[in-house]
Amino acid sequence: MSQSYDRGTIEDFGRWRDFSAGMWAWVFHKFTGWVLIGYLFTHIAVLSTATAADPTVYTNTISGLEDLLIVRLLEVGLLAVAVFHILNGIRLLFVDLGMGLTAQDKTFYLSLVLTGAIVVASVPTFVGGKL
């Protein structure tokens, strides 16, 4: 509420500590969604090299990027973001169908745990291979 009396630090900070599971899920979903759409734009930009006359530009750009450790790490991050967004997205789809509402907090924690597990399991594939 914009015209709220400004309760200063009381209102601005400190509230997040009081967030409950559903609110965190919302925050994370939002964050991951934004990262994903941001990535989509970047991704298309990178892939645009394919429109160059010389096909090696595309190949070189991709492998050039993949040669950087930072890019591979970022990709792991992307995976984490995507996996969480997917799992929580599935959770939300169930919520929309009115299923499992009473377990909404548990399914959120489950999404987190699963995301963690999948990401850890994928690290070798993502980071591994010749740089």
């Binding site: 509420m1 967030f19 559903g22 919302w26 009115g98």
Partner: protein, 292 residues
């Protein structure tokens, strides 16, 4: 844990400059009075020093009163007894230490919905919250995301406006022709709307919802639940239901809900708000599919 004084230190730091020279006679009087109260409390503390007390940290603000214009927290040490609620503690603090401590309350039994407060980081009814269930110190603030009128009192006008904007009244397509005949309602249908009819307009849900905080026009969980109560009541008939759905489907209606569940979690009447909102979303989609 043996004193019952209003904690002078924290009060002094909270309002150090405004406290110093008591300018008007009124203020001097109040300063003296505070002194007397502290003295009284100190004496009480001496005689019953083995008694258990609870520390309350209470949000204070008054737009008119010197020294309270800057929001601050006051400390109150309140003697504890088994079964004491947050409201009991506030009443004790007000009647014993500071009669200007302001909060709404009336029924003391979770039915009037006046005393929804932000207690230890959560919206709760003061009268329905046992002190023994809380960690100390007990931090008591007015409901977040609402204008503070004074101390713990917030402006409920916006909440009432939202409640009333969903046409919250029974309005059947038709009534029995016989004046003395009741409309029939199945037990199942009554059961279906039962939870939704329990709302006491406390505003806890609305205050807990981040979406309502961001979008002032969002109807909010309580108003949507109110609409649900009528839309699902079989006595009203299909025509009315359709009109109700139109209200629900507007831009700032059900679609704004992002299923944060905090409304459901804080509702003192255990109304499954998120469930009701979601059901209305599906209803809306279903009724629109017909035209596709």
């Amino acid at each position: 844990m043996s004193t019952q004084t209003t904690d002078e230190d924290s009060e002094a730091t909270g309002q150090s400059d405004s406290e110093a020279p008591a300018s008007s006679p009124g203020e001097r009087r109040r300063a003296e009075k505070r002194e007397r109260q502290t003295e009284k409390a100190r004496q009480a503390a001496e005689t019953e020093s083995d008694e258990e007390t609870v520390l309350l940290k209470v949000f204070r603000y008054d737009p008119e009163v010197e020294g309270k214009r800057e929001p601050r927290f006051d400390d109150f040490h309140v003697p504890f007894y088994k079964g004491m609620t947050v409201l009991d503690a506030l009443i004790y603090a007000r009647d014993t230490y500071d009669s200007s401590l302001t909060f709404r309350h009336s029924c003391r039994q979770a039915i009037c919905g006046s005393d929804a407060l932000f207690i230890n980081g959560r919206q709760r009814l003061g009268c329905k919250t046992q002190l023994s269930d809380l960690d100390e110190p007990v931090r008591i603030e007015p409901l977040p995301h609402q204008d503070v009128v004074k101390d713990l009192v917030v402006d409920m006008e916006h909440f009432y406006d939202q409640m009333e904007s969903v046409e919250p009244y029974f309005d059947p397509d038709e009534l029995p022709s016989d004046d003395m005949a009741e409309q029939r309602q199945s037990r199942e249908n009554r059961e279906k709307i039962k939870m939704s009819t329990r709302c006491i307009w406390c505003g806890a849900c609305m205050s807990s919802c981040n979406i309502a905080a961001g979008d002032n026009q969002y109807l909010g969980p309580a108003a949507i639940n109110k609409a649900y109560r009528f839309a699902m009541d079989e006595r009203e008939g299909d025509e009315r239901k359709e009109k109700r759905m139109e209200i629900m489907e507007q831009e700032h209606g059900v679609w704004r809900c992002q299923t944060q569940f905090s409304c459901t979690e804080v509702c003192p009447k255990d109304i499954p708000l998120t469930e009701h909102i979601q059901e209305l979303k599906r209803e809306a989609v279903k009724s629109n599919l017909k035209f596709w």
